[in-house]
């Protein structure tokens, strides 16, 4: 994938979260968004996901301008899978229905096809025995795996993750990260916001470091982790790697 930000600006009320950020990300397949809390990572990811519309500026994904009208964004979003931190599954639907419903409504599958596809995915993610449970009866790790299965179900070329493991214990974190690694190995592009620097390091080939409303640094993962260019990035890495 390639990404290009052009003076992209996002405000919430008077509060400027992204201040005319510009960057060109050359071809890469896994991009990590890193930075201190409140730096605007989730906001940027939501704009890339087509869930938020920026006030000013533009964003190109794979050379194509991302639309800034809700009606056109609908089709744009259907080609992208998004996973949030809080495993936003629909609480009134079973794991199976959570995956099958979007396939039916947004991707034109019949009910039978959607169920079959959803079941196949659950099987692959070792969740078969939980297929008919509602989210309230699933553990955090199981919920997040179902959420990832849902995001990957329509075989989107690009998958977005916003801190997919920050609400999980280490064992479940490992499970979920393995799954993301698998999807990446399958050839899907991913953009991930994460505090798991080790994982970012092993899976990402590009890094964007966001802090203080700006893109402070945009470089290859190798260079970013071995020789950060800005003092902020160096301090961030040092803080986060301390424990």
């Amino acid at each position: 994938m390639t990404l290009e930000f052009n003076r992209l600006t996002k405000r919430f009320g008077e509060h400027v979260v992204l201040d005319a950020i510009s960057a060109q990300i050359p071809s890469c397949s896994a991009l990590a968004l890193l930075g201190p809390s409140g730096g605007g990572k989730s906001t940027l990811l939501r704009i890339i996901a087509g869930l938020l519309i920026s006030e000013k500026g533009s964003l190109c994904l794979n050379g194509i301008l991302v639309p800034n009208r809700e009606g056109e964004l609908l089709h744009y979003r259907r080609a992208i899978g998004t996973v949030f931190q809080a495993f936003n599954l629909f609480p009134h639907l079973t794991a199976l229905e959570n995956i099958a419903l979007p396939l039916r409504l947004a991707h034109g599958m019949s009910k039978v096809e959607a169920q079959a596809a959803a079941f196949a995915l659950l099987e692959r993610f070792r969740l078969t025995e939980h297929a008919h449970k509602k989210p309230g009866a699933l553990s955090g790790g199981q919920k997040q795996r179902v959420a990832i299965a849902r995001a990957a179900s329509a075989k989107p070329k690009l998958l977005l993750f916003d801190e997919p493991t920050s609400a999980l214990d280490p064992e479940m974190t490992a499970e979920v990260l393995d799954l993301i690694g698998e999807l990446r190995a399958e050839g899907r592009d991913i953009i991930i916001v994460t505090h798991e620097v080790g994982f970012a390091r092993s899976v990402a080939d590009r890094v964007i470091f966001l802090a203080d409303r700006k893109i402070m640094e945009s470089s290859t993962a190798e260079r970013f982790f071995s020789a950060p260019q800005t003092a902020e990035a160096a301090a961030f890495l040092e803080r986060i790697l301390k424990y």
Binding site: L89, F90, H92, P102, G136
Partner: protein
């Protein structure tokens, strides 16, 4: 003995050990029957004490009046439930609209109607508004006025339900590529319905009982007919006890249906 009492009359707190299966299954019905029996005994005692000789025969003469009144109340209730739910949903949507004039109008309507007694609304609505627009059928006019009255309350209940659906759910739906209609139909509606049901059932019961006020515009519904029977037979309690039973006959099935639907929509968040 102590254990037996606890098993049959107490639900254990979450930290306490579970009860046996038989007690768990049957203590509910047992206690319901006990409560009903106690209430019945008290009622029978009170009624026997207050009236020495009951005269059911006189009231039985007028059974047709009861039946026609009950059927009228049933018809008014059914149409009013449907219309007021429809109007209430419309008002709730306006209340959440981002178009300011519509929002203001809906707010004003709800506040004014909720702050005015039904009696006044019925009289003004029938002799003022309905007459002005040429609607002279008191049954249709009465049902409509009642629907408009109840819609103000129902819209607030529905608005609360719609607002209880979290932003994260709506964002998930958008991320999954649902259209606005699909989001409403498959996410907002089922989640909100679950939260709305208990309050809505209560509002429906109120509405059914409020229909008795239609007698002020001479709609001969259940309560009015029972009053007529009472004045003709001088059998006050003999007329009003069937009245109570008749209203319960309408409200209890609605409660039961709502409870079943609630259970079907159950989820843990």
């Amino acid at each position: 003995m102590k254990r037996l009492l606890r098993e049959w009359f107490w639900i254990p707190a979450p930290h306490e050990p579970e009860r046996g299966r038989v007690a768990r299954q049957w203590s509910g019905p047992l206690n319901l029957v006990l409560a009903a029996a106690l209430t019945g005994i008290f009622l029978v005692w009170a009624l026997q004490t207050s009236i020495a000789n009951w005269d059911w025969a006189a009231v039985w003469e007028y059974r047709a009046l009861f039946v026609s009144g009950w059927l009228m109340t049933l018809a008014i209730s059914a149409s009013t439930l449907a219309v007021s739910t429809f109007l209430g949903t419309g008002l709730a949507i306006l209340r959440r609209s981002r178009f300011l004039p519509a929002l203001g109008l809906a707010k004003l309507y709800v506040e004014v109607v909720r702050g005015t007694p039904l009696l006044v609304i019925l009289l003004v609505g029938f002799y003022g508004v309905a007459n002005a627009v040429g609607l002279h059928d008191r049954y249709i006019a009465g049902s409509l006025i009642l629907s408009f009255f109840s819609a103000a309350y129902i819209s607030e209940i529905i608005r609360g339900g719609l607002e209880s659906v979290g932003a994260t759910q709506l964002e998930s739906a958008r991320a999954a590529g649902f259209t606005r209609w699909q989001t409403f139909r498959y996410v907002t509606l089922p989640l909100a319905t679950r939260n709305i049901l208990p309050a809505l059932t209560g509002q429906f019961a109120l509405l059914i009982k409020d229909s008795s006020l239609l007698s002020v515009i001479s709609v001969s519904e259940f309560t009015m007919n029972a009053q007529q029977v009472a004045s003709r037979t001088f059998g006050t309690l003999e007329s009003y006890l069937p009245l109570a039973a008749g209203y319960l006959l309408i409200t209890l099935p609605i409660s039961a249906a709502a409870r079943t639907l609630e259970r079907a929509l159950q989820y843990e968040s």
